[in-house]
């Protein structure tokens, strides 16, 4: 095993590694022992606390599945609404006209610098004050509004980065054969950019799924975390078991999404048909704030 940090190891380094491994194993075992001891002390590992998840379907059909359904509903709605909005904002930020570019930039930077929870609380009050949405539906509306406002601006940055990631020759060739700006964007840049940014969009989905839990904790939206809370109360303050199951579901769901995004990215990088421009999974974090208020790149478009 060799990397930029260390070379292939000799006998002394190997011996030292074994010592490290043993010490770390002991520390890990001690920590695990402490956790298990604490859980046993509070009777949290008894079968009675866990059996409802393994025998019978009540816990799943009454609490977990409906909760997961709401989580997915909010996430999917948010993506479907945020994508076109984000595309419009992203393209507007690349406009040649200052009066289009600057307002779009202000909107994007504004909503990116405000926490989603604040946007959700705002949405909830907005719907109860100015609309006739029934109070049962309001939490869903508020959660989706918050997610859309925030993620549209993040997706706008992804779209912008996706278009900028294309080689300059693409737009130069398009202009050389006499395409107008509109045709250049519609026929040449966007179709390629959409493919290039697919992995980034999928990994943004993970963020959206995680943020729906905020709606459950603060806005009484009946998503997975909120129903875990109700479930825990129903089974007699069964917090540890309920939260463990819910955390495992979130991990499985998001891990699947992340893996899918990485697979897409690898596939796109290999593909010979594209220009090879890919906006990877890791790149999303970098755009998230790398250019907050930074210089607006407008060359090429």
């Amino acid at each position: 095993m060799s990397s930029v940090l260390y070379d292939a190891q000799g006998p002394r380094a190997k011996r030292r590694n074994i010592v490290f491994t043993v010490v770390f194993l002991v520390a890990l075992a001690a920590a695990l022992w402490w956790v298990i001891d604490k859980l046993v002390e509070k009777d949290q590992l008894e079968w009675a606390k866990w059996e409802m998840f393994f025998t019978g379907t009540e816990a799943w059909s009454t609490y977990i599945w409906p909760g997961l359904e709401n989580t997915l509903k909010a996430a999917v709605l948010a993506v479907i609404i945020a994508l076109p909005l984000g595309a419009v904002l992203g393209i507007a930020r690349l406009s040649d006209h200052v009066w289009v570019r600057v307002p779009a930039a202000i909107v994007v930077e504004f909503f990116r610098s405000i926490p989603v929870l604040v946007l959700m609380i705002f949405g909830l009050a907005l719907f109860s004050e100015y609309t006739s949405v029934s109070s049962d539906d309001r939490p869903l509306y508020a959660v989706v509004t918050g997610l859309v406002l925030y993620n549209a601006s993040v997706l706008a940055e992804i779209v912008r980065a996706g278009i900028l990631s294309l080689p300059k020759g693409q737009s130069e060739a398009a202009m050389a054969i006499g395409l107008r700006k509109n045709q250049l964007m519609r026929l040449v840049l966007l179709p390629q950019a959409v493919t290039a940014m697919l992995p980034a969009i999928v990994s943004q989905l993970v963020v959206i799924v995680k943020d729906t839990a905020l709606g459950g904790a603060v806005l009484t939206f009946g998503e997975l975390l909120a129903s875990a809370n109700t479930m825990s109360a129903y089974y007699g303050a069964n917090t540890i078991a309920s939260f463990t199951i819910v955390a495992l579901i979130f991990i499985a769901l998001n891990f699947a999404l992340t893996t899918f995004a990485s697979w897409l990215e690898a596939r796109l990088r290999r593909s010979k048909r594209s220009t090879g421009a890919v906006l990877g999974v890791e790149d999303v974090d970098d755009i998230n704030a790398a250019e907050v208020g930074g210089p607006h790149k407008t060359d090429g478009v």
Partner: protein, 222 residues
């Protein structure tokens, strides 16, 4: 028009937000650096632990972690983190713990991405001219890695500042919770929202601008 503000401790709430952010930032920088060291180190078991930690923690919503800290750790297992019987102190500390555990996974990834930007040739060249392991690390690899970690770390910090609002879920009196109270009691929705939005823009935008500038200034040109 601004009279109602006197009934609420908005300044105190913003101060709580800042405290949450600073304490968690320091905590997650330390724990994240340890995790990053494990993930890039030569010991397979530690590498496995670092990878597992990052992949598990990154995929759990922060809300679940913080709510679990309050309902699970505190109310079920009776962990108070030395807060005695004071409900507010305990929840504040639990929020810092949750934010730290969550954010350190991202700090670890930011540092690791910094190390990954250093071309292998740099270390190979350093070894070829006879530098020892310690010299390679201290003089060649880490200085370059830290420089390219500035921008990713800045992103993590900005996300952290925004994530402190999640502490509202366990009743820590920070900005989002006070906003919720104000909106419920006053008929000033747009004004209140504008004030709160301004608070966060002021907290995050200069941080991003400054660290982005630093990141560009120290970046290694390749």
């Amino acid at each position: 028009m601004f009279d109602f503000l006197q009934d609420y401790d908005l300044a105190g709430a913003v101060w709580t937000t800042v405290q949450l952010a600073v304490l968690s930032a320091v905590g997650s920088l330390i724990w994240g650096t340890v995790l990053a060291a494990m993930r890039v180190g030569p010991v397979p078991l530690m590498r496995g632990f670092g990878t597992a930690y990052v992949n598990i923690v990154r995929n759990i919503p922060l809300t679940v972690i913080i709510l679990f800290a309050s309902l699970g750790l505190n109310q079920t297992l009776g962990i108070t983190l030395g807060g005695g019987g004071d409900f507010e102190t305990i929840n504040f500390r639990l929020a810092v713990l949750g934010l730290t555990l969550y954010t350190s996974a991202f700090v670890c990834e930011a540092l690791r991405s910094g190390i990954n930007t250093v071309p292998v040739g740099q270390a190979e060249a350093a070894r070829a001219i006879g530098l020892s392991f310690g010299q390679v690390l201290a003089n060649i690899v880490l200085p370059q890695a830290f420089r390219s970690s500035v921008v990713p770390l800045a992103n993590v910090l900005i996300a952290l500042i925004k994530n402190t609002t999640v502490a509202a879920a366990i009743g820590v009196a920070e900005t989002a919770l006070v906003m919720k109270e104000m909106i419920e009691n006053e008929a000033q929705l747009l004004l209140i929202s504008a004030i709160i939005a301004l608070v966060f823009v002021v907290l995050t935008l200069p941080t991003g601008l400054f660290l982005g500038w630093v990141g560009k200034k120290v970046a290694v040109k390749r």
